[in-house]
């Protein structure tokens, strides 16, 4: 009988030196095909759509309303007064502050209205001013009331700030265009 000799195997090793390279390739693929940049922008919630026939006229006292109109020539009117865009924030800050402590149906409403030919950039700049007015009032309020910066507030405190200074921006119903 022929004896089959068992061959002794050499060191059974998987070469792992190139494994790192393969992993690097995968990594590179993900770096290239994904995006990290965060989206930043001005957030807004549009009003619910109501057909014209069902629209109701809700009277709003002049005291509550800050009407911002940006016309096609690039003039900005706050309550029918021409105003330079960088001044909107200053002007609004006082009015927002004067409404702190009032019940929620007495807070300031900022209404933004544009023409069809208004430049989009101007609209964004004005909206930016309105938002920054609100943010600065909120920051001040947080500092006065809680003695902290607004980003260090607890969730509960933050919601008081939000309740006290709600951001109400109303986008005016576009006018019907007659061709």
């Amino acid at each position: 009988m022929v004896k089959i000799k068992k061959r002794k195997l050499g060191g059974a090793e998987i070469p792992t030196s190139s494994m790192a390279d393969i992993a690097f390739l995968l990594l590179l693929f993900f770096l290239v095909s994904t995006v990290i940049d965060v989206d930043t922008g001005i957030g807004l919630t549009l009003p619910e759509y109501v057909p014209i026939e069902e629209q109701q006229f809700v009277p709003l006292s002049k005291d509550r309303l800050a009407a911002l109109l940006i016309n096609e020539n690039g003039d900005v009117l706050l309550n029918s007064e021409i105003i330079a865009i960088p001044q909107i924030a200053n002007r609004l800050t006082e009015r927002i502050e004067s409404k702190i402590g009032l019940p929620s149906n007495k807070k300031l409403v900022v209404s933004v209205k544009t023409d069809r030919k208004t430049n989009y950039n101007l609209y964004i700049q004005s909206l930016d001013q309105v938002k920054s007015a609100y943010f600065s009032v909120r920051e001040n309020y947080a500092r006065v009331k809680f003695g902290k910066d607004i980003d260090k507030l607890t969730e509960e405190e933050l919601s008081t700030v939000r309740d006290e200074i709600p951001i109400i921006i109303s986008i005016a119903e576009p006018e019907q265009v007659n061709n």
Partner: protein, 137 residues
């Protein structure tokens, strides 16, 4: 007297067996923190700049609408007509109830098209929007 040079007797190799693991960790980190690029942008646009901006924390909720310099509208992967916005957005809204629509509009476009899109979004009940802007330093 002769000095004998001392030689280290230890192995002179860097252990590389854990290198792939480290790289895999990196890979996993990137996979978790980033999102895949989903669409090719077909329109040209420059975003406006603003100061009082906020971050959108959850990227998976965002749906984009681009409006280019030539007032073409892009939604998902194709250029669409204005009257298709409502239907497409309504479908999105059904899939993803709290969708945030990010409007990436060229800064020199006119408000007319923005208003039209907004009206379409209101009709589609996708009312959370975000005007995409860069941070002005």
């Amino acid at each position: 007297m002769k000095f004998q040079k001392k030689r280290a007797t230890a192995k002179q190799e860097i252990p590389t067996s854990s290198l792939p693991d480290i790289i895999f960790m990196l890979l996993l980190f990137f996979m978790v923190t980033t999102t895949l690029r989903e669409v090719d942008v077909l329109v040209q646009f420059t975003l406006p700049k603003a100061k009082a901006i906020e971050k959108i924390e959850n990227k998976r909720l965002i749906s984009y609408i681009w409006v280019g310099r030539d007032e073409r509208i892009q939604l998902n992967d194709n250029i669409i007509q204005l009257n298709a916005v409502q239907e497409l957005m309504y479908k999105k809204r059904v899939e993803l109830p709290n969708v945030i629509v990010s409007l990436r509009v060229d800064k020199n476009s006119s408000m007319g098209i923005v208003t039209d899109i907004q009206q379409a979004l209101r009709k589609a009940d996708a009312r959370r929007i975000n005007y995409s802007t860069y941070l002005r330093e």
